[in-house]
């Protein structure tokens, strides 16, 4: 069974609701793939906390683990689930009321 869009979006929003996971995702988005140690150097978060959150993010499919140098696991952001979450946001952000009001005004003119 492929995952439902709603389930994927929920994983993304749950991840983003936590400030530590948000910081980790933001760091991976801006700086590219990194190890837990790299992230601990860059963020005011302990390496243990980062490793725990990376595990949760990996389980949710939001980051992917890949072999790095010296047998260190590197984490890379996965964009596909983010795109599904963006679809949800696009539906919320779609404004038909404004254009339909404008259509009415245009016709009445």
């Amino acid at each position: 069974m492929p995952p439902e869009p709603e389930a994927i979006a929920e994983q993304v929003f749950a991840a983003l609701a936590d400030p530590t996971r948000r910081a980790i995702l933001a760091a991976l988005a801006s700086g590219g793939p990194a190890t837990a140690t790299d992230l601990a150097d860059r963020l005011p978060i302990t390496r243990q906390a980062i490793a725990k959150h990376l595990g949760l993010l990996a389980e949710a499919g939001l980051v992917t683990a890949e072999p790095g140098e010296r047998r260190r696991v590197r984490y890379r952001l996965r964009s596909a689930p983010m795109r599904v979450a963006q679809q949800f946001l696009a539906a919320l952000a779609r404004d038909w009321d404004g254009p339909l009001d404008a259509l009415r005004d245009h016709l009445d003119r």
Binding site: A80, Q87, A90, W96, A102, H106
Partner: protein, 143 residues
């Protein structure tokens, strides 16, 4: 369902369908009430574009043209990268209502699954986790 796939609005307009149809399907109409400027090739498969003074643009592909009752097009989902193939479908339906028009707009496709390539990536991911998490666990144990 928490993930809205479909947006629907109905408005009553005090103008006959022919006039509403022109506002929806001509460059002059679309470029006045919707975009700041518009172009449209009004036939199934034809291209249409609206642009706004701020530099934003919306590219549409005309899908249904049944004058003066149904006009449908697809367009890009806002916020997704330009190269993403997913699009939503917008359909306007015009019904005479007294001397005016009942106009319904339905936009669908927000909850569509990604295309097959993405779908495979998701499935591959789910299956791959067992081994990758195993590696993570051994790495953490060794640290």
């Amino acid at each position: 369902m928490g993930f809205p796939d479909r947006i629907e609005r109905t408005v009553e307009l005090a103008h006959p369908p022919a006039k509403v149809w022109a506002a929806l399907t001509t460059a002059e109409g679309l470029g006045t009430w919707f975009g700041d400027q518009a172009t449209i090739d009004l036939r199934p498969g034809g291209s249409a574009q609206m642009t706004w003074a701020g530099g934003h643009a919306a590219d549409m592909r005309v899908e249904r043209v049944e004058e003066p009752t149904v006009f449908g097009f697809t367009w890009h989902i806002n916020g997704l990268p330009e190269d993403d193939p997913r699009r939503t479908y917008v359909e306007f339906t015009l019904e005479p209502a007294g001397a005016g028009t009942r106009l319904t707009v339905i936009e669908t496709g927000f909850a569509q699954l990604p295309d097959d390539a993405y779908r495979k990536a998701f499935e591959g991911n789910t299956q791959g986790w067992a081994s990758e998490l195993g590696e993570l666990a051994s790495y953490l144990d060794a640290a």
